[in-house]
């Protein structure tokens, strides 16, 4: 499952980021790294709003669909 199609309200862990190196660097600077805990807050067709490491971001489909998530046990 990617960040783009993760259900709203769910809490997930980042498993991998499949993107160009430059996008990966940008995402990691914002806290989206392997192992980070992500909460999906809301979504539109074009973008998704999520919280990671205490900050809230909106990421467009192109960026969000690069982030691979797994369900956390929580």
């Amino acid at each position: 499952m990617t960040l783009y199609d993760a259900p709203v309200g769910g809490c997930f862990r980042v498993v991998a980021i499949h993107s160009t190196p430059s996008l990966k660097l940008r995402l990691s600077a914002l806290g989206l790294t392997k192992g980070a805990q992500v909460t999906v807050l809301s979504r539109r067709r074009s973008a998704v709003v999520f919280r990671v490491r205490g900050a809230r971001y909106a990421a467009a489909k192109g960026a969000a669909s690069c982030v691979i998530l797994s369900q956390t046990g929580r």
Binding site: C11, S22, L23, L25, R26, L27, S28, A29, L30, G31, T33, K34, G35, A36, Q37, T39, L41, S42, R44, R45, S46, A47, V49, R51, V52, R53, G54, A55, R56, Y57, A58, A59, A60, K61, G62, A63, A64
Partner: protein, 682 residues
């Protein structure tokens, strides 16, 4: 700490940068040239940190400057510096745009990174002109790393990159007041030990901890200098990187997690249990809702528009009455003093009518700036970007480009400069082309006046129509541009931080509105004053020298030449041509020019308005012409100030000429269409 100290600092400071945002820069070719200029007694302190962490608020506190702050990431788009005297030392304070890491994404981030590292990055090279800092020496003696106490986990990522990179770092834990309110407490001493750099709790908004922070920064700078080596490229004498330089992002975050769990108590930031964050999430559930979100955005715009239009007009009458009385009084004084007819006419019909016609609309402008400042400081702008992303992507842009476009409702100049937050050259250029189509505060007086004269009850509807025409034109131009541009120049997907909502701060709003109003008044006193006086001369000097009959002047003869060309657009009147030419200097000048040309002094009264309409209709200017005139004013060429900024931001005249051409072509085509259609129906 006592805010008196800070008031003292501010009082003694010499703010080198101007508050207009456009500052004179001494050209310094490279870092070395700056270093030679370096005075050993001056300590350079740079404010670096994530966007929206309060760097500029802190900088304003220390320098007494009034730079704009607001609640969205990317408000500060250029490096600013000021020199202050503090405890017998000279400090050079440098405010940098925000960045998330030493790897920049947008030109404005690149500028901050370049200042800190002295290395030009790809992102900066990919940007357009006007973003290269050349104000002085690159690099600082000490970096104050401003962090957000409420989002420490993310903030500290940049910190781990800065510490040990060569320049001593002091970590400012900003928004300490908010953290406390949310039940977060940070063990500052332990944090300092773990990071290997001193940390100080401050609140830039409440002005607490400011002296301690500055003292600590000075101590660090002097300690590093005490080692007898001023060469900043040699890695830190006193500070060691908390995480090895080559560490992966995962390793950095693992370290940060250990710091957070050891030093921060009272909240679980990762899950966002902060009260303000939870409240913001609740608000977002409505404000960014798929269906309700865009509707609410449109409603907010409609309310801003309505208040600016109606409430502003109610107050405008008062100013008009004062100006009317002033004009009568000065006219009396001048004729008593035996002044010549031409001199009285120049003062009354030229300057007072022209400048007064613009000042009349001050309340409308004030309200517009006030409402936009409230919107900016609330935290809503980033949401607007999120909501707009879907549409903007179709125009080959990202939702982020929507922020400068909204700012364009106030004034195109800062809006064009704010495009520095955008990644990718094509996206920036296309947004810069769109912005002048958006109705700015200066065009509002023209709309209000013409619609009030010719459309009575439907005035607001017609004004709203002109406003929509501008937006529509911007969208169409962007769409065509996106089809013509190379696919590979498309910007990457948008990622934008959505800050917590907050109650707009009175100080921030005051500074923002005050600066904008000051600019408007300065413009009324300079550009408008000169254009009104110049126009009077242009329209009163003919082959027989001074003549009160304007139609026999050189100006009228010149503008009559344009009549033929403007006739298909319904604007074939020399008076209108003259007003439009004046409007290139500044859009308000269209109104002031009309007051001068039609000899109306006293727009504030019903009689004055009636007189102006009579004067216009007497030349054959009807409702269809008025519609075409509104369309033309909404779309035609950007004002001189905008053109100058387009040149400096895009790095050349080519783009300026292109913008002039596109705007003129659009205006001419649309107003011709409007005129033809209006004639058919009327």
């Amino acid at each position: 700490m006592a805010s008196k100290d800070i008031a003292d600092i501010a009082a003694k400071s010499e703010v080198a940068a101007t508050a207009t945002g456009i500052k004179q820069r001494a050209p310094v070719s490279d870092a070395r040239a700056g270093a030679e200029k370096y005075d050993n007694r001056v300590i350079t302190i740079a404010f670096a940190g994530n966007p929206n962490s309060g760097k500029t608020t802190l900088y304003n506190d220390y320098t007494g400057a009034h730079f704009k702050t607001a609640n969205w990431p990317g408000v500060t788009y250029e490096v600013k510096e000021a020199t202050v005297q503090y405890k017998g030392r000279t400090l050079r304070l440098v405010d940098l745009p925000g960045a998330y890491a030493l790897i920049p994404g947008s030109p404005e981030e690149a500028e901050a990174v370049r200042f800190l590292t002295g290395v030009r990055s790809d992102a900066e090279n990919a940007g357009v002109g006007g973003t290269n800092f050349s104000g002085g020496a690159l690099g600082a003696d000490v970096i104050i790393n401003v962090t957000d106490s409420c989002a420490l986990e993310r903030s500290l990522f940049f910190t781990t990159q800065l510490i040990g990179a060569g320049t001593p770092v002091v970590v400012a834990l900003n928004m300490a007041d908010l953290a406390e309110k949310n039940g977060i407490s940070v063990d500052t001493q332990r944090l300092s030990r773990m990071l290997g750099a001193p940390a100080v709790s401050v609140s830039a908004a409440r002005r607490t901890g400011l002296s301690e922070l500055l003292d600590t920064a000075i101590a660090e700078a002097e300690k590093a200098r005490g080692d007898g080596d001023r060469n900043r490229s040699i890695a830190g004498k006193n500070q060691k990187p908390p995480v090895p330089q080559g560490a992966t992002e995962e390793m950095r975050y693992a370290f940060i997690s250990s710091v957070i769990s050891a030093c921060v108590t009272g909240c679980a930031p990762a899950t966002g249990s902060l009260r303000r964050a939870v409240a913001s999430d609740r608000a977002d559930a409505v404000l960014t809702h798929t269906v309700a979100g865009p509707l609410i955005f449109l409603a907010i715009m409609a309310v801003i528009f309505y208040i600016t239009f109606s409430a502003g007009n109610a107050i405008a009458g008062l100013i008009g009455r004062v100006l009317g009385a002033l004009s009568v009084y000065i006219g009396g004084v001048l004729s008593d003093a035996g002044a010549a007819d031409w001199a009285i006419s120049l003062v009354i019909d030229g300057i007072i009518a022209g400048v007064g016609g613009v000042l009349m609309f001050l309340p409308n402008i004030l309200l517009l700036f006030l409402l936009l400042a409230l919107l900016e400081d609330s935290g809503y702008m980033a949401r607007a970007a999120y909501l707009a992303d879907g549409v903007m992507v179709r125009l080959g842009l990202t939702g982020k480009a929507f922020i400068p476009i909204i700012l364009g409702l106030g004034c195109s100049v800062p809006a064009i400069m704010a495009t520095r937050i955008l990644e990718g050259r094509q996206q920036r250029l296309r947004t810069i082309l769109m912005i002048p189509f958006v109705t700015c505060g200066s065009r509002l007086p023209v709309f209000i006046l013409i619609s009030a004269l010719f459309f009575g009850r439907y005035a607001w509807l017609v004004t709203f129509g002109a406003f929509c025409a501008g937006i529509l034109a911007a969208v169409i131009v962007a769409f065509i541009g996106s089809r013509l541009d190379d696919e590979k120049d498309r910007p990457g997907p948008m990622i934008i931080e959505l800050p917590d909502y907050k109650l707009p701060s009175a100080r921030t709003i005051f500074i923002s509105v005050y600066e904008k109003l000051r600019e408007y008044l300065v413009r009324a006193g300079t550009v408008i004053f000169l254009s009104a006086a110049g126009l009077w001369v242009f329209l009163h000097i003919g082959t027989d020298g001074y003549s009160p009959d304007m139609s026999r002047s050189f100006g009228a003869a010149f503008c009559r030449a344009a009549e033929l060309f403007l006739a298909p657009a319904g604007l074939g009147f020399w008076q209108i041509a003259a007003a439009l030419i004046a409007g290139i200097a500044a859009k308000e000048a269209v109104v002031s020019a009309m007051c001068v040309i039609y000899g109306v002094n006293g727009l504030h009264t019903i009689a004055g308005m009636y007189a102006l309409r009579e004067a216009m209709t007497a030349t054959g200017f009807g409702v269809a012409n008025a519609l075409a005139f509104l369309a033309f004013t909404a779309l035609y060429v950007p004002c001189i100030a905008s053109l100058a900024v387009i040149k400096s931001e895009t790095g050349g005249w080519r783009r300026v000429m292109f913008a002039l051409f596109i705007h003129f072509l659009t205006a001419y085509t649309v107003s011709s269409l409007v005129y033809t259609i209006a004639l058919v129906f009327m």
